[in-house]
Symmetry: C2
Subunit: 590 residues, 2 copies
């Protein structure tokens, strides 16, 4: 076993056995969550506050610098990329300044006050989708009320967030297994890639065909550059230190190179491909004050905004909490506790502020949140020598990646936030304006593909297609009938396909219902269709670290006779062979 | 050992011990090759003729069809690609019709009369380089004599070829080791890629910038398509049969798809990227008869052509014979003998005909010749189970590629020649005209990279850069000091770099001297700088099959105490692990 995040170790750090936040064993009215308002939040703060000082002092290592740089790029680039799209599709209401403001706000609030500062919060594709779908609906009636309407949506969403947090409803996230988080990861990856393609298509229609071709070229080569650098960083070439630098700064190197390329004087510069549109620093994109005059909206529209606010909450309930869960997932040896209720309450606050200022609402980011933890994890590539039975001294040498520890602190998140504020200033906005849309399309491709490449759905598909005789006999999937594997990933693919399809229509607004349904589907129906053994092989709790589960009221109730530790046979097998997977394109072992 | 081409087996087929063509043990005047005119050719025919009937009857298998299709694309596409370049740089003297004619002529002659019909003969980049360098020289004096001058160069070259064949001088090719054939492979690969880039650059300068970008896009995506298909074909996905189809028809699938793509109505078709320029079927590109009026050239120019003819012979001596050697290389379990002297004589004949008809001179093709043998080889992917010492039943499963046999016959080469003749007809020329230059740039990239990716120079470089502890202890290169490996590949890289550099200047004409110097460098100097053990690890005879060496007067004389079988430790180690390497992009094990 190469994982240091074994529950026994984690629980020895903090006595989880005695964690008072649990409903197990309670009787009478006490067993109902809703009757304990604020109990989860209270314990979240109580649990995390003792670590606050170390959250700052632990930060003085090189990892923090590398992480800050990487996250600045991985957070900022997709945020701007989504803004390009949202800008066009919301009548230019949301622009770069709004997105930067929202990202900076979220980074400041969550790095300073979040119970789990590892969870990166910012602008996602789903909120972009939400905002422009609402725009599509509103312009059927009166485009001029869009700012106020979206503001009220946010206000209601904030209220629903606070209610969920106060009523301890985040507890149900402990039932999230890979079944739904893989589906969500795949869905997000596909949406990223679709957005990348749309960005390329838009270049053809908004500029000329020449810009379109150059944009495609740069996007593809940007993808190849980052992919290659990250793959080299995960290889066994050179020394570990040099490899690490390649992987840590892959986005920096790739972005600087290809932005520079797009400005080579002569033919390339003359092609004049589209750049990030910027407006005056620190001012809203539209000619308006920062505060939305939300009190001027007709009362009937305020009521219409209620279901929209509820849907935003449902979306963020899933998206934010899964981001947070994956940032604290199994493979990271975390020692400090998280706090789902408190963070969800905070999210309500940032949503409220974003709402009344007319910013896009930020929430937890997949895959940026787990990438953040990854960037703070100290990995060691160990040598595993497998003695073979072929004569004396015969052996096979294999690299095994081990996560030794995570630099758990608030500083990288905070400094990244400061850097985003810096980006909002005039001079740096001008630098941003030099960046071609092509690079953003490339970002969509690389981040999206990163989410697909390592996905369990793809892994199981490859297993199904592989020629039988070359499959290692120890492979746990061999214990499951192929029909059952097909059914399992078939359900996942059906879920993903439904979500992708609905995202392309005006019904996209109802998408959060679909994605949330995956959790009860897993809990209620899957145990009827699969044996416990099959689920133990194919599925696993997304987070099984006791310090993480503590905030969710402890481990979920499982079918009798099974323990959380029994799940994830497939994953354990793979980790035993190659070590933990990294959150990087090109670092997957097949 | 997975190789069936063990010398013992081959020699049991034909009693090589008793092969009468050898100079070993001869005394007096008899030990001099030059005093045995035609001896090698005589034995070549005598040795191969008994197999002629089986060369036809052996062909009735599916492999022959797959091979014919693959070779049609792999031979035709680069030939046309080089012609595009040569056409522009020889004052439009050589065109598609000339190249097709030369390719068809070579295919007909060598498939019917060649002693080794596996060696694909056609238009290479080097002859294109030669022809336009001569053009660059001639236009300094009088551009109008170019046709006659190049004709006389060919006539002299033909005469030198005949002399070399008659005097048995091909025998020295037995000294060709991987030291020089790897260098040559790397050189050819680099030239291919340079030509690909030139093709892209030309699109920008001849058409507009929009065509240029689209051409780059298609070339890159064509490369990715073929690479991906061939890599999948070498993987362990799906059944062996389906994988084989993907790899066999990778060029067909990729070419049809991307040619079709370039014709999608709308923006792409409107971009009007450049296509293959064609002229009237069966007519020379220039307004001339097929026969060059070579008798009209001024006598002084006829004499000036002598050194040029000699250089062509030197180039082909190396290029053609190495192509032939690699087509009969170690990893192919060949059972029928080749005939270097007779084939070189035949090459003189095709050169003579090409010369007086004003065609580019064909010669043996790297990497097409070994790709031909590869396409005819029946590979089986065996399962190798390595028991490990970790508890009961622990094992590692690994695919090992084994070459079981080669469908040695003349029909695939012959039918491919017929297909090329077919391509010369009006209707198919029109089809050719639909192909964008972009696809040819892609062909340059994929064929060039295929030659680089599997190259021993690159392998040794990767070994040097790899982190030490992950190198398997059985790796023979560990027995050589790193300094010595650096020196060895340093010499190779120096040779390659010199050749590449000289190719870019008007001195390119002298390039054959450089490349031929690699053989004496290896034979005379390397044994002084390296120990026998070091060379045994790093170097190997390019062909060590006894049926092949028979035509070269037997195995080369080696330093006392060593045998040819002792060489190639590095290769044998790799083959023992993964099986024989295939001549495909993406099929290399690292």
């Amino acid at each position: 076993m190469t994982r240091s995040s074994s529950p026994s170790k984690a629980s020895s750090i903090q006595s989880q056995k005695g964690d008072p936040y649990t409903y197990q064993g309670l009787k009478g009215w006490r067993q109902f969550r809703l009757l304990h308002p604020g109990w989860g939040m209270y314990h979240d703060i109580k649990r995390r506050l003792p670590y606050y000082k170390s959250d700052i002092t632990d930060a003085f290592t090189y990892r923090t610098i590398a992480s800050t740089v990487r996250m600045y790029f991985v957070n900022l680039l997709p945020a701007i990329a989504y803004t390009l799209d949202m800008h066009r599709r919301t009548g230019e209401f949301f622009g770069v300044n709004e997105s930067l403001f929202a990202s900076a706000l979220a980074a400041m609030v969550f790095s300073v006050m979040g119970a789990q500062p590892l969870t990166i919060v910012g602008i996602t594709g789903l909120i972009s989708l939400f905002n422009y779908t609402i725009y599509d609906i509103i312009i059927r009636y009166d485009a001029s009320i869009y700012p106020q309407f979206i503001c009220w949506t946010a206000i209601w969403a904030a209220i629903f967030h606070w209610l969920v947090a106060v009523w301890n409803l985040c507890d149900y996230m402990r039932y999230v297994t890979d079944f739904s988080s893989e589906s969500f990861g795949m869905y997000v990856g596909i949406i990223y890639i679709i957005k990348g393609v749309e960005e390329l298509v838009y270049e053809f229609s908004s500029r000329d065909i020449t810009s379109g071709y150059l944009t495609c070229l740069i996007a593809i080569l940007y993808f190849a550059t980052i992919y290659g650098l990250e793959a080299l960083g995960s290889s066994t070439m050179w020394k570990a230190g040099f490899r690490g630098i390649l992987a840590d700064y892959a986005y920096v190197i790739g972005t600087i190179f290809w932005v520079g390329f797009a400005h080579i004087p002569g033919r390339i510069k003359d092609t004049n491909i589209s750049k990030v549109p910027i407006t005056k620093a620190f001012h809203p994109t539209q000619a308006r004050g920062w505060l939305i005059n939300f009190w001027e909206l007709d009362v009937k529209w305020i009521f219409v905004a209620i279901p929209f606010g509820f849907l935003v909450m449902l979306l963020f309930y899933y998206d934010h909490n899964v981001s947070s869960l994956t940032a604290q997932a199994r493979q990271f040896p975390l020692k400090k506790p998280g706090g789902f209720h408190w963070d969800f309450f905070l999210l309500g606050c940032t949503i409220f502020i974003s709402g009344i200022l007319g910013l896009p609402m930020p929430n937890g980011l997949v895959p940026q949140a787990p990438v953040h933890t990854d960037s703070l994890t100290i990995y060691e590539t160990d040598l595993r020598i497998i003695p073979t039975e072929e004569g004396e001294g015969a052996e096979i040498r294999r690299p095994v990646v081990r996560a030794t520890s995570v630099v758990e602190q608030r500083v990288s998140h905070f400094v990244m936030g400061l850097a985003i504020i810096g980006t909002m200033t005039g001079p740096l906005l001008v630098v941003l304006h030099t960046m071609p849309a092509a690079v953003f399309a490339g970002v969509f491709f690389i981040v999206g593909w990163g989410s697909i490449e390592s996905n369990g759905i793809l892994m199981k598909l490859i297993f199904l297609f592989k020629e039988d005789r070359f499959i290692q006999r120890g492979e746990p999937l061999l214990q499951v009938r192929k029909r059952k594997i097909c059914l399992y990933i078939g359900l996942q693919i059906f879920g993903v396909a439904s979500c992708v399809a609905i995202s392309q229509t005006i019904a996209a607004i109802g998408f959060p219902i679909l994605i949330c349904l995956l959790i009860p589907l897993r809990v209620v129906f899957l145990p009827r269709w699969f044996t416990v053994k099959e689920l133990e092989v194919m599925d696993d709790l997304t987070a099984n670290n006791k310090v993480v589960l503590a905030s969710l009221g402890g481990a979920p109730t499982l079918p009798s006779g099974t323990r959380a530790e029994d799940y994830g046979l497939e994953r354990k097998y793979s980790e035993q062979k190659h070590g933990v997977p990294r959150q990087r394109a090109g670092s997957v072992h097949r």
